[in-house]
């Protein structure tokens, strides 16, 4: 009898360990449950001039937050520290800046923003002074390019989504051509690019609701996900966090979809609406080291800040 009990105990122990192991494996492949908690929204500058349809938002990973106030043709620099906004908000305007959309900050604090009217990447100092355009040097044929989006990696290299010549251009921090990765066959339309902590380049195809990836030094893109149409209507923007999770902005659906590093669906957060915490035609998303998420909530004319918790 005692032997039988011992045997049963062993079996149940083994089953429990298998279950725990299985759940750990599942968690590590698809990521733990991720939720957003609404923190606050940015509605205006320090003179109370309201934001107008902002489409860009960038963080230096610490406390600096840059907003492309697209409808007002300007950039705004906020300091967001410990969950609060500091009083001083700096307005950045330039005669060479008409319609800023996607915006990025490099490790030296320099500002790069895609001007949709000019379809050029404008280069500004950390103080907001115009420093010219990002003109790739030494491009192989074809030399012509149209940047639909861009991103900067941790080493300040540029990755430009060139929709004219169907490729991703890789430039060194000085803007010199380093390499290119051709777009994959049969894509719909690429609208944004991101580079994760491992240097993997990610592209989002809004038309087919797919994410493509190219590992570091890889010469080609391959699909990372299957069609995500059951979760998103029209994904148009993406970013990654320091764990490699992918945050996908559903422009038409007003939500953020989180994928694991392996492209597996993890969670969908927020939803279409006007109230705080809801999104209407969101554009760029960025995330800092503290897990604070900033979303340019374009048609609600504000930037919303969320905190990730697991």
């Amino acid at each position: 009898m005692t032997k039988m009990r011992k045997c049963c105990r062993k079996i149940s122990l083994a089953a429990t360990s298998m279950l725990v192991l299985a759940s750990v494996v599942t968690m590590s492949s698809s990521g733990a449950e991720v939720k957003f908690r609404y923190v606050t929204s940015l509605y205006s500058d320090d003179k109370n001039i309201p934001l107008k349809q902002p489409e860009g938002v960038a963080s230096d990973g610490k406390s600096l937050l840059l907003v492309a106030d697209t409808g007002n043709g300007r950039l705004l620099r906020y300091i967001f520290k410990d969950g609060f906004l500091e009083a001083e908000i700096v307005e950045i305007r330039s005669p060479q800046l008409f319609y800023p959309v996607k915006t990025e900050i490099n490790s030296r604090g320099e500002i790069y923003t895609l001007d949709r009217k000019q379809r050029s990447i404008v280069r500004l100092s950390s103080e907001g002074e115009f420093r010219g355009y990002l003109n790739p040097a030494g491009l192989p044929s074809p030399a012509a390019y149209v940047p639909r989006s861009f991103t900067i990696d941790k080493n300040d290299n540029f990755y430009i989504l060139d929709i004219l010549s169907e490729r991703v251009l890789i430039l060194d921090p000085g803007g010199k051509y380093v390499g290119q990765i051709k777009f994959p066959q049969g894509y719909g339309f690429f609208s944004d690019i991101a580079v994760d902590v491992n240097g993997t380049v990610l592209l989002v195809d809004g038309v087919n609701a797919l994410v493509f990836s190219a590992a570091i030094n890889s010469a080609a893109f391959s699909p990372l996900t299957e069609s995500l149409k059951q979760y998103v209507r029209f994904p148009a923007s993406l970013t990654t966090d320091d764990r490699g999770r992918i945050y996908l902005v559903d422009r038409n659906g007003g939500s953020i979809t989180i994928l694991g590093q392996d492209g597996i669906f993890v969670e969908r957060q927020s939803g279409l609406g006007w109230k705080e915490g809801q999104l209407n035609y969101p554009a760029q998303i960025c995330i800092n080291a503290k897990g604070e998420i900033f979303v340019a909530d374009t048609r609600n004319s504000r930037v919303q800040i969320f905190k990730v918790f697991e």
Partner: protein
């Protein structure tokens, strides 16, 4: 031992009798599994269903009926399917006619996919080949009225429509494993079967360009048109004037002089200038495919050389929005659906090339500049609306038409509301009214 011999003899005789009676003598049982009286098979049904006597006299009769096997498709007593059929109509015909829909069909006739075989065939018999309910093109044109009307009215008709098998000269009636639109073969292989590309007249007509491997339907309407050579009615002016070299290099090279993003701008300067001075250019306009995402370069059926009807063109990328629009159209609560949404006229509100506004809407204010073109919003409701009235959900927004409605359609919601009922909508702001 004697007794054993006796038994053996009788056993042999008995076996022979049994075998003989089973094999040679006809059993006295009734006919078939339904135990019909002898001679009743193939006749008994017709005793009541007299009209089929006439059907049996048709030139073409379904082989089962011809053999009097009504029970091939019908159960005589009870059935769970209409007309006492042995199976559901969506499965019954496929039980024998499996090859009608190939597994890897590139295109299939909708009625075949939906197994509505009776739309074309009389399941019992008819005077038309393949027991079709009508003969020749007449049958196809019953549904494809647009093509029939087009053919009736055009000056130049495709001759193959009027000879031999008519529509079936080019199309398979059920499915095609080789091409879209049920074509018997892909283009140009289908066309060059009759139109010999090595003839001097052919080469002359095509300005000596090697078009033998090109898609003929990029210029020609395969059914007919009002333009000589059956070129689509809406033709690029240079195609109509046969000035191919405006865009293409000199024959025999088919290459264009520049990529599409540059080439079209050479002539369409006004459009280009208007487009590129706007704040937001529709991104596909400036990519590698450029104008050809939406327009045909040579000739098309649609105005402004759109390659397909507008909704279809927009839906190629914006399928999610078109899905909402279609659902809104089907929604019985949407009897007063916005006209551009109903007709799929996206460009009524959006500028397809470029605009200064988000969503590429062609006016700064959707409510007052676009909706008000048709809806006199001042009289629409007593709800305050306009710049003075701040949306309490978001202090940067004022109350506009889009505070309550969604302009491209909202699927199953009534009156293009963003919420499923008026109550749900109103309590978004009027929270004190929540029940």
């Amino acid at each position: 031992m004697k007794s054993l011999d006796f038994n053996f003899k009788y056993a042999t005789l008995f076996t022979v009798y049994v075998v003989f009676s089973l094999v040679v003598v006809k059993p006295a049982y009734p006919e078939g599994k339904f135990k019909l009286r002898p001679g009743a098979k193939g006749k008994i049904c017709l005793k009541c269903h007299e009209t089929f006597k006439q059907t049996l006299k048709s030139r073409y009769v379904h082989p089962l009926l011809k053999k009097g096997k009504c029970t091939g498709c019908h159960v005589p007593h009870t059935s769970s399917h209409k007309n006492l059929l042995t199976a559901d109509t969506t499965k019954l015909c496929y039980e024998c006619h499996k090859k009608v829909l190939p597994e890897k069909a590139r295109s299939a006739h909708k009625v075949v996919v939906e197994a509505n075989c009776n739309k074309c065939h009389n399941s019992h018999g008819s005077n038309n080949k393949f027991i079709l309910i009508k003969s020749g093109n007449e049958l196809c044109f019953d549904c494809h009225k647009d093509i029939s009307d087009n053919i009736k009215n055009v000056r130049f008709k495709h001759k193959s429509l009027e000879k031999d098998k008519g529509c079936l000269n080019c199309h398979n009636p059920h499915a095609s494993a080789k091409s879209n639109s049920l074509l018997r073969n892909s283009m140009p292989s289908l066309c060059i079967k009759c139109h010999k590309t090595n003839k001097s007249t052919f080469r002359q007509q095509h300005m000596n360009y090697p078009v033998a491997k090109s898609d003929c339907s990029s210029c020609h309407n395969p059914h007919g048109s009002n333009k000589r050579g059956m070129v689509f009615d809406v033709a690029h002016s240079d195609v109509a004037r046969r000035k191919c070299t405006t865009c293409h290099q000199i024959a025999p090279s088919l290459k264009t002089k520049q990529p599409p993003s540059q080439l079209c701008r050479e002539c369409h300067k006004t459009m280009a200038n208007q487009t590129f001075t706007k704040k937001r250019v529709h991104w596909p306009v400036v990519d590698s495919v450029s104008c050809l995402h939406c327009h045909g370069p040579h000739a098309t059926k649609e105005q402004k050389l759109l390659k397909d009807p507008q909704l279809q063109v927009c839906g190629e990328c914006h399928a999610d929005t078109v899905e909402l629009q279609e659902a809104s159209k089907k929604n019985p609560n949407n009897d007063k659906l916005c006209e551009p949404v109903k007709t799929g006229n996206c460009t009524s509100c959006h500028s397809p090339h470029a605009a200064d506004n988000v969503l590429l809407v062609n006016e700064a204010s959707i409510s007052f500049d676009i909706c008000a073109r048709c809806h006199q919003w001042e009289t629409h409701s007593t709800h305050p609306i306009g710049e003075k009235f701040i949306d309490i959900r978001d202090k940067n927004l004022s109350v506009t038409c889009l505070s309550c409605h969604r302009a491209c359609g909202t699927g199953n919601n009534p009156a293009m509301l963003t919420f499923s009922s008026t109550y749900e909508l109103c309590i978004q702001c009027h929270v004190e009214r929540r029940r």
